[in-house]
Every structure is written in structure tokens, then in C-alpha cells.
Symmetry: C2
Subunit: 157 residues, 2 copies
Amino acid sequence: MPDDIDRIIQKSYEACASAGVKLTDKRKNVLMVLLGSSTPLSAYEIVERYKIQFGETLPVMSIYRMLDFLIQEKLVHKLETASQYMSCAHIACEHQHETPQFLICDRCGSVKEIAIKKHIMTELERSIQSTGFTLAHQQLELHGVCKHCQDNSVPAN
Amino acid sequence: MPDDIDRIIQKSYEACASAGVKLTDKRKNVLMVLLGSSTPLSAYEIVERYKIQFGETLPVMSIYRMLDFLIQEKLVHKLETASQYMSCAHIACEHQHETPQFLICDRCGSVKEIAIKKHIMTELERSIQSTGFTLAHQQLELHGVCKHCQDNSVPAN
DNA sequence: ATAAGATATGATATAACATAACACCATAAT
DNA sequence: ATTATGGTGTTATGTTATATCATATCTTAT
């Protein structure tokens, strides 16, 4: 759970404003749901939590649209390998967005977002370019077991 | 389309035999469907092609089970980011299976399986271990545009 | 202030991907 | 020959995602 949700929301408003798009209340609420979760959530789980947190049941179609918006504005990431969504860990950071790399724990479902080392990415790109391929999304998703689950031998879910 | 399907099938039989499991006719046929496709296929697409190639309609449930088997025996890969399946490019190779890396063209859907450079993987692992995380599946899926589509400006699908 | 247009959301239906649970049959092991 | 195992079929259902059209709300020009 992020330290300072208010500050992140504030930053999100600013980012949207400078992109000329609107962070509506519902979009903001969806972002808040994600910010309040320690694990990434599916669109359907967002519907449930939205209802609990804000007392309103949104159609899943709307959630998908809002997620698309938030992803577009780089406030949310989609984990393709898990079909789940999570808030970007760097909304309130000053530094530039780099290639995100997600370490997904297959036991507890938690995800750590770390920035991939510049030179590793450069090498990856180089070895890829030699095949004529051009990278697009630039996002790595790696599965494994997090420190906490290793220490506690939590069973896989 | 692989050069020599017969040889790959032969190797697959040998691999299964030495693992003490059986490559049944239907499992072999599913593998043949994948070997005959230039792009990865979904389970439902395999049902369709199986029918065309072998004149029999298998329930998708059975296809999923056969895919599980083939994946277990490392004859087939699942592309998690695309929910599609493809035959391993290295069934008939002598060299050891390394960390596979898939370059997925978002325009034509073709996929190139290349082995990630040893030292890049080592570096990735090192930077990950510093977070306490332990890697599991070790498979990279990278999206972009293949050489052919760049040259021909094929529209995205 | 209001109409026209644009953007955001709601509602309904359906497509696409995946698994659970149980039945049946063939073959292998005893 | 009997039993155990593994492979496949069948049915039902769960999960993720998109298409389409309707409605609401917001903006902006007049």
C-alpha cells in the first residue's frame, strides 16, 4: 500500500491535465482501488472492490474502458501473463519512466515492479535487433517466488 | 514450417520414451498441427485445424490436456501473453534447452523463438536476486514488429 | 441559456479462453 | 482374469475480454 495516496492522486491529476485528458471521479476511484491493493487485480476483482469501497456497482465493460485509459496515461500497468492490472509504482517519482520489469510471485501473487538495468536492456535490444525485430511494449514479466514466500514456505495458489 | 517434421516427430517419440510417458496418436497429431503452423495457435484454433487435418473433432478439453502433456515434455511452449501455443523450435536440436525468448510480432502474429544470451540471462538473474526473488519459469516474451512486417507495412491485426 | 457535438458511462449480449468433475474404455501389472 | 492406471470423452461452469448500441454529461459556439 503506497505511503501517500493523496500525493499520487495529485500527481495523476497533473499528468492527465498536461496530457489534455481528464481523470474523472470514476477513473480516479479505479486507480484508488489499485493503489489500495497489495496485489494486482483482475477487472472483475476491481468491480468487487469498487463496490465495497465506493458503494457502486460498475459494469465490467466500464472498468475495462477506465483501465484502458489509465494504461494509456501510464498510471496503470497490465500484467499480460496474469491478466491483471496494477498501479504504476512510479507515478509520484520524478525520474523518467524506464522499461518496467515485473517480478511476479506465483505463490502469493504479489508483484514487485523494478526498473530493468539500462545496459541489460540495451544488450537485450541489441541481440534482438540482429534478427531484424523491433521491440514495442518493452515490458518484462518474470515469474518466481518472492522472498517472503521462500522464508515462509507459503503453498502455491 | 519445419524442414523435416518426420524427424522432429521421431525425436519427440524418443524424448517421451526416455521420460517413460507415451506420445499417443492424438498427442502426436496435436503436435503435428502446431508444427504445421507458421504462427502460434489457440486451443480452439487447434480444434479447427485438427478437424481439417485429421477429420476428427476433439473436445477442447482434450486439447488442453494434450497441450499440458506436450508442455510438460517440453515439446510445446505456451505464450502467456497471447494465450497461444507453439511447438518448441528445438525439439530436434542436440544442444541443451536454454531459456527461451519469444519475439512476437504484433502485426502478423508470427513468433520467433531465440535463445537468450547466457550472459544477459545471468545479469538479469543477478539483478533480480538482489531483491530476494527467485526466478521460476524463465521465459521472456517480447512484443514488437518483425522484419517482414516492417518492410511491408502490414497493418496491425 | 441553449443547441450541437464530443466524451464518458451504462446495459446487454456474446466471444474467447480455461478448468472442474465425473464417466468410460483400453492397456499394463499383478 | 482382475485390478489399477492413464488417456479420452462429456457436460457444466468459471474467467477474461470485446462488440454494440443507448444514455448521460460536459464543452463550446452562438
